[in-house]
C-alpha cells in the first residue's frame, strides 16, 4: 500500500458512493448533482493514475459542459424540488435491475481481476506530451473520424429539434 493506493481508494469509495446515490435518489436534480460528484471524483482517480490530461478533459467536457446540458434538460422537462416516487420503475423491474447490475459487476471483476497481477506498477510523471503525440500520430485517423462524428451529432441534434418544432405542439415559451 502506497500513498497513491490510499488516495485512490478514498476517491474510489467516494465515486462509488456518489454513483449509488445518483441512481437511487428520489430528487431529480440531485441525481444530476451526484453524477457531478461521481465524475469529479473519477477525475481525481485519473489524476492519481497519472492521467492528468484525461482528468482535465473529464472536468472540462464532462463536468463543465455535458452535465450542464443534463441539468438543463432536466429543468426544461419539469424538475420540481422535493422527493418524487415516480422516478423509479416498478419493484419487480428494479429487483431484476439489481440482479443484472450485481452480476455485471461480478462478471467484470471475475474477468479482469485475474488479468491484473498483484505486482505494483509505476505511475509515470506527466504524460501530456506523449498523449498529445499519440493522438496526432498513431490515432490521428480515429481523431478525424471523431470530429466528423461531432459535426454530424451537432447537425442531428439541430434537425431533431427543428422537426419537432414544426410537428410538435407549442409548449409555451420553453424553447431554447
Amino acid at each position: 500500500m502506497t500513498t497513491r493506493d490510499i488516495v485512490f481508494i478514498c476517491f474510489a469509495v467516494l465515486a462509488a458512493g456518489c454513483a449509488l446515490l445518483a441512481v437511487t435518489t428520489k430528487q431529480v436534480v440531485h441525481a444530476a448533482l451526484w453524477l457531478v460528484a461521481t465524475l469529479g471524483t473519477i477525475a481525481g482517480c485519473y489524476f492519481v493514475l497519472g492521467a492528468e490530461l484525461v482528468g482535465l478533459v473529464q472536468l472540462l467536457i464532462y463536468v463543465g459542459a455535458v452535465i450542464i446540458l443534463v441539468i438543463f434538460a432536466l429543468m426544461l422537462t419539469r424538475a420540481p424540488i422535493g422527493k418524487h416516487d415516480d422516478l423509479a420503475t416498478p419493484g419487480w423491474q428494479r429487483a431484476i435491475a439489481a440482479v443484472v447490475g450485481a452480476s455485471l459487476t461480478a462478471l467484470i471483476a471475475a474477468v479482469v481481476l485475474p488479468v491484473v497481477t498483484d505486482a505494483a506498477v509505476d505511475i509515470p510523471a506527466s504524460t501530456n506530451k506523449g498523449v498529445s503525440a499519440a493522438i496526432f500520430g498513431v490515432w490521428v485517423w480515429p481523431f478525424e473520424l471523431l470530429s466528423v462524428l461531432l459535426l454530424s451529432a451537432l447537425i442531428g441534434a439541430f434537425i431533431v429539434s427543428q422537426v419537432v418544432r414544426a410537428a410538435g405542439r407549442p409548449t409555451g415559451g420553453e424553447g431554447r
Binding site: T89, Q93, I96, A97, V100, S103, L104, L107, A110, V111
Partner: protein, 615 residues
C-alpha cells in the same frame, strides 16, 4: 544541330503572337483602338521574326528550342521543345505572312464591328496556335496548338453571335473537329506509350531503327487530321464555316486550321513513309475528297462557298501529295502546295471580302459583273483564280506541278489513285475558277433585296490604300512567287507540266464555251435539281444529324439499361432495407423500460456465456 539564333527566333515567333493576344484581349474592352493597333503591329512584327527565322535556320538538320522546360510525367518524358528545319521555317513564314495580311485587312474590314478588337485578338491567338503546331517538336505541344485552334475556330466562326446560323455553324465545326480529335489524341497517346516520350526526334529514331511502323496510331491520327482538314466524311463543316467574317475564313482556309493537318502529316512524314497502309487510307480519303469537293464547287451560287469547297479540294490535294510521294521526297511537294495555297487562297478570300463590301453580299447573283472598275481588285483576283487553276507562271502552277510529279513518281497503289484524282481535279478546278471569273466580270448584278447593315462599306481613302496594298501584294506574290520555289530547288518536268497545263486549259475552254450559252453562267448547263442539291452538300448535314440522333438513342438505351438492370441491385437493397426497417418498426412497439431490461439482461447472459465458454 544547334543554332542558337534560330532557336531564339523560333521561341519569339510563338511568344510574340501569344503575348499580342493576351495584351490585346486585355485592352479589347477598355481601349479597342489600342488593342487593334497592338494586334496589327505585332502581326507585322511576327512576320519579320519569321523572316529572321528563315534566314537563320540551318540548311540541313534541325534547330531545337526549349519552351517552358521539360516535364517528367511518371515514366513519360515530355520535353516541350520546339523543332524547326528549313521546310517548316518556310511554312511558318507563310503562316506569319498571311496572319499579318489578315490583321492589316481586318483593320479596315472589322472597323465598324463593335467586337472587332476581340476578333483581332483571337486572330492573334489563332496564329500563335498554328505557329506552335508548325514549330512543335513535341506531340504534346502539337496537341495544344491543335486544340487551341479548334477553340479559336469556334470563336471566329461564331463571331456574329446574333445570327443563329453562325452559332450553329460554330457549334458544328467545334463538335465535328472535337469528335475527330478523339482519334488524334488516341494516336498521340499510342505513339507516346510505345516510345516513352513525346519528343519527335526520339520517336523518329525509335521507329527508324527497324521497329514496325505504328500503323494503328498513324491511322488514328489520320481521323483527327481528316476532321481538321475537312476530308470525307468530315467534309461538311467547312462550307458552313463561311458564316464567320471573311477575314476569319481567309485565316482558317488560307494558312492555318485546314492546313494544320497537312503540317502534321508533313511533320510525321518519316513515320507515314514507313506505313504503306496508313498512306493508302490517306490517299483514298484525299482522292475522294479532292474530286468530290471540286464537283461541288462548280455549281455553288455563293463566292465564299465556292472558295470553301475549293479549299477542301486543294487541301486534299496536298494530303494526296503527302500520301503519294516516295519516301525520299520528304513530302516537300505537299508543303510547297500548302505555302502557295496559303498565298492565293488568302488573296481570294480577302478579295471576296472586298466584293462583299461592294455588292452587299457574297452571292453570285449580287456580284455579277461587280468586279469591273476597282483597279487592283480584278487583276489580283484574276491572278488568284489563275493560281488556283494552275495556269503558268503563277505560284499555283509550280506547286501543283510538284504534286503531279510526286504522284507520278510514287509507286504505290495510293499514288496511282492520287495521280488520276489530281488530273481530274485540275480539270474541274480550271472549270470552276474560270466560271467564277467570268461571272464576276460580266453581266448585271441584282440589287440586294434587303440591305444588310452588318456589311462593311467599300474602302475609301487611306483604308483603300491599305486594302489595295494587301490585295496587290498578295496578287503580285501569286504571280511571281513560283519563282521562289524554283530557286528553292523545285524543278519542272516539261512533260508533266505540259500534260497538266493542257488539262487545265481544256477546263478553261470548256467553261468558257459553256458561258457563251444564254445566261452567261457555265453552271446552268447542269440540271436545276442537281444545283440545288449541291448547295447543301448533297444533304451531308442530314446524315450528321441522323448519326447524332442514333447516338442519342443509343445513350437512352444505355441509361435505361443502367437504371433497370445495373441499378436494380442497389435499389433492391435499399427497398429491402426499408421494408425490413418498417417491419422492425411495427414489431417494436413495447414499453421502453422493459425493452431496455430485456436487452441488458440478454446482453449480460451472452457475456456470461461467452466468458464461460472462453475459459
Amino acid at each position: 544541330m544547334t543554332s542558337s539564333t534560330a532557336s531564339t527566333f523560333a521561341q519569339l515567333l510563338v511568344a510574340v503572337p501569344v503575348l499580342a493576344a493576351v495584351v490585346s484581349l486585355i485592352l479589347a474592352r477598355s481601349a479597342p483602338g489600342a488593342s487593334r493597333a497592338v494586334s496589327a503591329v505585332t502581326a507585322v512584327l511576327g512576320f519579320l521574326v519569321s523572316v529572321g527565322l528563315l534566314v537563320n535556320v540551318p540548311a540541313e538538320g534541325f534547330a531545337a528550342a526549349t519552351t517552358v522546360g521539360p516535364l517528367q510525367v511518371g515514366e513519360l518524358k515530355v520535353p516541350l521543345e520546339l523543332l524547326v528545319d528549313r521546310p517548316f521555317a518556310v511554312v511558318a513564314l507563310a503562316v506569319a505572312f498571311v496572319v499579318a495580311c489578315i490583321q492589316l485587312y481586318s483593320v479596315w474590314y472589322m472597323a465598324t464591328d463593335p467586337r472587332g478588337a476581340v476578333f483581332q485578338a483571337i486572330v492573334s491567338m489563332f496564329g500563335a496556335a498554328m505557329l506552335l503546331v508548325v514549330l512543335s517538336g513535341d506531340l504534346l505541344l502539337t496537341l495544344i496548338g491543335w486544340e487551341v485552334m479548334g477553340w479559336g475556330s469556334y470563336l471566329l466562326i461564331g463571331h456574329h453571335t446574333f445570327r443563329r446560323s453562325a452559332r450553329r455553324a460554330a457549334m458544328k465545326a467545334f463538335l465535328l473537329t472535337r469528335f475527330a480529335d478523339i482519334g488524334f489524341v488516341l494516336g498521340i497517346v499510342a505513339l507516346a506509350a510505345q516510345t516513352g516520350t513525346t519528343r519527335l526526334a526520339v520517336i523518329f529514331e525509335h521507329f527508324g531503327e527497324g521497329a514496325a511502323a505504328p500503323t494503328a496510331a498513324l491511322v488514328l491520327m489520320l481521323i483527327g487530321i481528316a476532321g481538321k482538314s475537312g476530308l470525307i466524311p468530315f467534309h461538311d463543316w467547312l462550307p458552313d464555316a463561311m458564316e464567320g467574317p471573311t477575314p476569319a475564313s481567309a485565316l482558317i482556309h488560307g494558312a492555318t486550321m485546314v492546313a494544320a493537318g497537312t503540317v502534321v502529316v508533313g511533320r510525321l512524314f518519316p513515320l507515314y513513309a514507313e506505313s504503306t497502309d496508313a498512306r493508302l487510307v490517306l490517299a483514298v480519303l484525299a482522292a475522294a475528297t479532292t474530286v468530290y469537293t471540286a464537283v461541288m464547287a462548280f455549281t455553288q451560287n455563293d463566292v465564299k462557298k465556292l472558295l470553301a469547297y475549293s479549299t477542301m479540294s486543294q487541301v486534299a490535294l496536298m494530303l494526296g501529295a503527302l500520301a503519294a510521294a516516295p519516301a525520299e521526297e520528304h513530302g516537300a511537294a505537299g508543303l510547297d502546295h500548302l505555302v502557295s495555297h496559303a498565298v492565293f487562297k488568302a488573296l481570294l478570300f480577302l478579295g471576296a471580302g472586298w466584293l462583299a463590301a461592294i455588292g452587299g453580299g457574297t452571292a453570285f447573283a449580287l456580284l455579277r459583273g461587280r468586279m469591273k472598275g476597282w483597279g487592283v481588285l480584278p487583276v489580283s483576283f484574276g491572278l488568284g483564280l489563275a493560281a488556283l487553276a494552275g495556269i503558268p507562271p503563277t505560284i499555283g502552277f509550280v506547286s501543283k506541278d510538284g504534286v503531279v510529279a510526286a504522284a507520278r513518281e510514287g509507286t504505290t497503289t495510293g499514288a496511282h489513285i492520287v495521280l488520276y484524282a489530281t488530273y481530274l481535279t485540275v480539270f474541274l478546278t480550271a472549270m470552276y475558277a474560270t466560271r467564277a471569273y467570268l461571272v464576276l466580270v460580266s453581266g448585271d448584278p441584282e440589287e440586294p433585296d434587303h440591305h444588310d447593315d452588318s456589311h462593311t462599306p467599300p474602302p475609301t481613302g487611306s483604308s483603300y490604300t491599305l486594302v489595295a496594298g494587301v490585295i496587290g501584294t498578295l496578287g503580285l506574290l501569286s504571280l511571281v512567287g513560283g519563282a521562289a520555289f524554283l530557286v528553292q530547288g523545285a524543278h519542272i518536268d516539261p512533260t508533266v507540266a505540259a500534260v497538266s497545263v493542257g488539262i487545265a486549259l481544256l477546263g478553261v475552254l470548256v467553261s468558257w464555251a459553256l458561258s457563251r450559252r444564254p445566261g452567261g453562267d457555265p453552271a446552268t448547263v447542269l440540271s436545276e435539281s442537281w444545283a440545288r442539291a449541291t448547295q447543301v452538300n448533297l444533304g451531308t448535314d442530314r446524315v450528321y444529324a441522323g448519326f447524332a440522333a442514333g447516338v442519342v438513342a443509343l445513350a437512352r438505351v444505355v441509361v435505361r439499361l443502367d437504371n433497370a438492370v445495373v441499378d436494380a441491385l442497389p435499389r433492391g437493397l435499399a427497398s429491402g432495407a426499408t421494408a425490413t426497417g418498417g417491419a422492425a418498426d411495427r414489431a417494436h412497439r413495447g414499453v421502453p423500460s422493459t425493452g431496455l431490461l430485456a436487452v441488458l439482461s440478454g446482453g449480460l447472459i451472452v457475456l456470461v456465456l461467452g466468458v464461460a465458454l472462453w475459459r
